[in-house]
Symmetry: C2
Subunit: 360 residues, 2 copies
């Protein structure tokens, strides 16, 4: 893998040690160029049938790209607007009775907790939590669904491998916000029923994109509630029309062709290098950063072989500002003393040097 | 109003008599340029906190622009991804019992019928229909909601004025797909509880944008189900966090800053001319087209003072293709013998001449 060629695809690295893909990935030049091309066409040719045909073709390309990195069948993949959009789709699409228990991990993201709070108020479901490390042992006879991070957003811990076994008994919904494009994902091997992931983080696409994988056995058991024209098998059938019985039935109602082609081209940049190489380089470089931070005397939060590295700072907000001044972009985690760096295959040792140098 | 200056904002008219805003409006140059500027910034500066601050500011600008054309308070306006997205939000956010009746008009669009079909299967609600012209008289004691077009998509008929009176007794959901930006909309005067509209048709914005107005008295009675980080009043409160009690709580989960600024700038182009002038010119020009088609011996479908003009052709698909060859863009309406032209303030008599000339 020629990582300098990959890095050169991302203009942000001309000036900045950008270590913030866990918020939004760097945006490759090719993604922006594709969106600009589409916009130009829309302005000059209008947006009648040929534009729709372009949009529909781009949607199917986008579905296929997500399927590749999920190691899934294309027809089981839905196009969403965000990780949370996929989570909502699953939670609202299942049937619930008062008292049904959902087991989650501690430290989950508001993007999972918000939609779960809705279910508590709407149906009286009960949400119980356990540490992510102990979630397999915390499952009991009342658990109807396990919903947790694949990679914990605060520190990069991985969900335990034993979850795959749990998934043979009860459905598991994985929040892949820090998983897809960051660590190896093989949805069947993970044993989950649902995997929700963002397009704008480790897949380097626009905000407003994401994906939801639904296991073939669960495709028809998640009832789509947000059903628009493109989700319907026979729109002319009116009230009798049904959602497509595959990923298309679970797609978000509308996303522009500009956004869709940008998401496709961003994934192309990474796929051209090879996903295995991208994931390997990112994990190795993140491990190097964790080691160097520890060697510098800092306390690094426990983590797995992932792309997030979090460590304690006396004044995290001041540290973020100081790093920004030095052209290094990381984030703090409100309510904690942690800074979090997100390390991708597009980063290099020079970025780590700049981070450590600016930390002092 | 200098309509030539307005027309010059839209590159599509350099070549084409584009009469298809009822599908997607012409996209003004300024909208594309704003998106391109944002993309450039995202590529070069990354998408950390400053990008989010830009995005949030643009969202509030977008909310204010929709409020202006809705004649509504900004805080009652939600940002959606499509008309249907807003319709789903309302239908899923209300409480239903089996047997509850929803009254709709005949010839509604699949974007309303699809979400209603979900409610029938999900809750056993009953959907009854009446001609749009007779919908006021069709309301009875069992009607829990009236849901219908503000402007009928097939022929440009207007919902009857008497609906405002109905709205004092029971909630009315207006599908404004062919209303907002096309005909005068004053949501309070219309007497509706909910008004759902697209951003990509008569407001000339990107696909993937729309708006939902919710009457102040209904803001807290529509329970948001799709709740993401930006919808929550206190994301750190986890399961206890609640959606904002205003339009922000009803916003779609995610839309990119690029799309949002494009939507804002498109509305700016029209607002700079003045909405009253835009609506007046469009309605007058559409009326002229209807008259000229009738004078040419064609049967024009009954319509109101709107921007849609539909008429019968022996072979509608062939006519669309022939017109396209001549640089005239209109659409046919599947399952009928109708062609539909959408006439905006950006059109001129020359577009009508080209249409009539190519029809032969």
């Amino acid at each position: 893998m020629d990582h300098e060629l990959l890095r050169a695809e991302f203009p942000v690295f001309q000036e900045t040690a950008y270590l913030n893909a866990g918020t939004c990935g760097p945006l490759p030049r090719a993604a922006g160029a594709a969106a600009v091309g589409l916009l130009h066409g829309a302005e000059h040719q209008g947006r009648a049938m040929p534009h729709f045909e372009t949009m529909l073709a781009a949607q199917e390309e986008r579905r296929a790209r997500y399927a590749e990195v999920l190691h899934a069948r294309t027809e089981d993949v839905a196009l969403t607007t965000a990780t949370t959009d996929g989570i909502v789709h699953v939670l609202q699409g299942l049937s619930w009775r008062a008292g049904d228990e959902i087991l989650i991990a501690e430290q989950e993201h508001p993007g999972l907790l918000g939609p779960l709070g809705v279910l508590v108020r709407q149906h009286g479901v009960v949400v119980r939590s356990a540490p992510l490390e102990d979630i397999v042992e915390a499952v009991d006879a009342n658990t109807k669904l396990v919903a947790c991070s694949h990679v914990r957003w605060t520190d990069g811990a991985l969900a335990p491998a034993g979850l795959a076994e749990v998934g043979r008994q009860i459905p598991v919904l994985l929040d892949g916000a820090q998983g897809l494009g960051a660590v190896p994902v093989d949805v069947e091997a993970l044993g989950c029923a649902f995997y929700a992931a963002p397009g704008q983080k480790w897949l380097c696409g626009p905000i407003g994109t994401g994906t939801l994988w639904i296991h073939p056995e669960w495709q028809s058991r998640v009832e789509p509630r947000a059903v628009g024209y493109l989700n319907l098998d026979t729109p002319s059938a009116g009230l009798q029309s049904r959602p497509w019985p595959d990923g298309r039935g679970h797609d978000a109602i509308a996303t522009s062709a500009e956004v869709t082609v940008a998401a496709v081209r961003a994934m192309d940049v990474l796929a051209d290098v090879g996903w295995d190489a991208v994931l390997e380089r990112a994990a190795t470089l993140a491990g190097t950063l964790a080691d160097r931070l520890a060697e510098s005397g800092r306390t690094v939060a426990p983590r797995g072989r992932t792309t997030l590295v979090s460590w304690s700072e006396a004044d995290p907000k001041a540290a973020v500002a100081r790093l920004n001044e030095a052209g290094v972009v990381v984030r703090d985690l409100p309510g904690t003393d942690l800074l979090r760096a997100s390390v991708g295959a597009w980063n290099d040792e020079g970025d780590l040097d700049r981070l450590l140098g600016a930390l002092g």
